[in-house]
Amino acid sequence: MARIACRAHYARFRGRLAAPRAQVLFTTAPEIPVSLDKDDVRTIAHLARLAVDESRLDALAAELTPVLALVERLNAVDTEGVEPMAHPVSSAMHLRADVVSESDERDALQKPAPAVHEGYFTVPRVIE
């Protein structure tokens, strides 16, 4: 995967954002917009285990690029030394006492399963 400076994508992106109600967001031009190409989409689609038809890859890349380009706004912000905020509340986590609270509910829990065999979930044979 590569980050490619792509003026064409950028121009299209700016074009969309030229709508009046978007102006507030993107008044400064990002220096190097990010774009996705079809190889990137193929790679991430595989990572995410989503079947994507080869003919759709270019269109998807074009759809996703402007979303990623939103990040360029962030590059202008100085975040040196700022602790990333992964959780909105800072209170310490509640830990659970080590007690068995769940009993066997296999039949109910497997009711929504697409395929079971003698209590096992099954999938097409995997070769290790």
Binding site: L17, A22, L70, V71, P88, A108
Partner: protein
């Protein structure tokens, strides 16, 4: 004096219904039957519910009446409501608006559903929503778009579009909802109803199907702030099944509202950035008029600046898809949910089940999320966005040193027409411009109707300090005592 007087039953909100039930003017079966009749009559085209079960609802209503008879009643016993179809229920299916869960029935129940059942509420059915809560127009539901009861060609907002539309159409007095980037407040604004997203951690997320775990928060949509307060109070509180659930005590909000009181002494911050370019003029006019009403009631309007606020949307659309891409990995066709026909091998099973089960917007966000977390990109995207999130939170902290609430528009525009933005994700995302920051920082926020623009409702948003829902609710409740926007009803059918 009669509570109901000469009003139709659907004009009664949650608190009115409780009072009428207490006074013996109406039974839960009558209220429930009335809702079911209206659903039958109006929801065919509105499409605000994915499913409902009339006989189960009536049975629950009859049980509620019996409990009231025997003096064994909870605060909301007998009041009907609808659950957003993101909350797991054991009797009704839980689809999350997705083909992936088209026929899924959860083997366990969400904590919110259990709590509201314990509070005596009667479940009518499940509300339509954008698939996996991803969307701002409710056009992303596998079960079809929802109409805005004020204008049938317009969207109701999303993702809790079904909840907002059905309350606006008075098919039920209240509906549960969830808010990840504005999904309670934006549809509440578009449909002219009141919706509150409480502080992150206030309402249990157990059994609420996750979109972006560090943003998702359950809440309620109803006609008024006091109705929201009543339902939210019953929903809130620590849940040992949710490690992010807060141990904070839940104040008696309904009691606090009952005491009344004006707005004198209340300092309301008005960020200039909320009124910058990009906000429709008609929306600005209505919101400013609303703020003027509050000032006239004794509140002080304090001009403030939230310069980093506009970065929220960028940070949000990096972090939320990242969390979503991981949260949605469990939908793999193995243990539940959609499995493709005749998979040739495991890879085929995964890739086709997921491609068939998820709609376009969900797939887009999964792809974006996988990308921003992938090797070599994490720091530039995810980490950077989380750092900016921290800066936005600091800016709010600072602002709340000098003001008690922050107010502005909920959305940049009123409801737009279906199809207007469905092929342009970024312009759709800009709907969340004013709402995402509260999610990024876990702050409570509320939207209430404050007027109309182009004959469509305008929402006024209030954002509060963490765990200070009380101030939001009191301010909104007072506003609704001096205005009547929240009592306006669309002419359904």
């Amino acid at each position: 004096m009669s509570i109901i007087a000469n009003r139709p039953l659907h004009a009664l909100g949650v608190c009115d219904q409780v009072a009428a039930l207490d006074a013996g003017e109406v039974s839960s079966v009558e209220l429930t039957q009335h809702c079911l009749d209206r659903i039958k009559q109006h929801d065919g085209s509105l499409n605000s519910l994915i499913c409902s079960d009339a006989s189960a609802a009536l049975a629950a209503a009859a049980a509620a009446d019996a409990n009231r008879q025997s003096g064994d009643s909870a605060p909301l016993t007998g009041v009907p409501l609808v659950h957003k179809d993101i909350f797991c229920t054991i009797e009704l299916p839980t689809t999350c608006g997705s083909r992936m869960l088209e026929s899924y029935v959860s083997p366990y129940e969400a904590s919110v559903v259990s709590r509201l059942a314990s509070a005596g509420m009667v479940t009518l059915g499940k509300a339509n929503m954008d698939e996996f809560a991803m969307g701002s127009s409710n056009e992303n539901s596998f079960f079809g778009a929802v109409e805005n009861p004020w204008k049938r060609t317009a969207v109701p907002g999303g993702s809790s579009g079904g909840s907002a539309a059905l309350v606006a159409a008075r098919l039920a007095p209240a509906a549960t909802a969830t808010d990840t980037g504005g999904s309670i407040r934006q549809p509440a604004a578009f449909c002219g109803v009141t919706g509150i997203k409480p502080t992150y951690g206030r309402v249990s997320r157990y059994g609420m199907i996750a979109f972006a775990s560090s943003f998702d928060q359950g809440g309620v949509i109803a006609a008024s702030a006091d109705d929201c307060a009543a339902v939210l109070h019953a929903m809130s509180g620590h849940d040992p099944r949710d490690a992010t659930s807060s141990p904070e005590d839940v104040p008696d909000w309904p009691g606090a509202l009952a005491k009344g009181g004006g707005l004198s002494g209340l300092r309301i911050g008005v960020p200039e950035e909320f009124f910058a370019d990009g906000l429709d003029e008609g929306v600005a006019v209505a919101v400013r008029a609303g703020l003027a009403e509050m000032e006239a009631s004794g509140a002080t309007l304090v001009p403030i600046s939230l310069a980093k606020q506009s970065l929220g949307i960028s940070a949000y659309y990096i972090v939320a898809p990242a969390e979503a891409s991981s949260n949605l990995s469990r939908f793999d066709g193995v243990r539940f949910g959609h499995r493709c026909d005749n998979p040739v091998d495991l890879a085929d099973l995964y890739e086709r089940s997921r491609a068939e089960g998820f709609g376009a917007e969900v797939q887009r966000r999964i792809l974006i999320g996988a990308y921003v977390l992938s090797a070599g990109f994490y720091d530039a995207y995810y980490k950077k966005a989380q750092q900016v999130r921290q800066l936005i939170a600091s800016e709010f902290d600072e602002a709340f040193q000098s003001v008690d609430l922050i107010a502005g528009p909920t959305t940049p525009t009123v409801a737009f027409d279906r199809g207007a933005k469905s092929d342009d994700p970024v312009s759709m995302y800009l709907n969340d411009l004013y709402t995402v920051s509260a999610n990024l920082c876990g702050l409570p926020a509320l939207s209430m109707p404050c007027g109309f623009d182009q004959d469509l409702p305008v929402g006024l948003q209030l954002i509060g300090r963490a765990f200070d829902e009380e101030r939001l609710l009191r301010a909104a409740n007072h506003f609704q005592q001096i205005t009547d926007w929240h009592t306006r009803m669309p002419e359904v059918a």
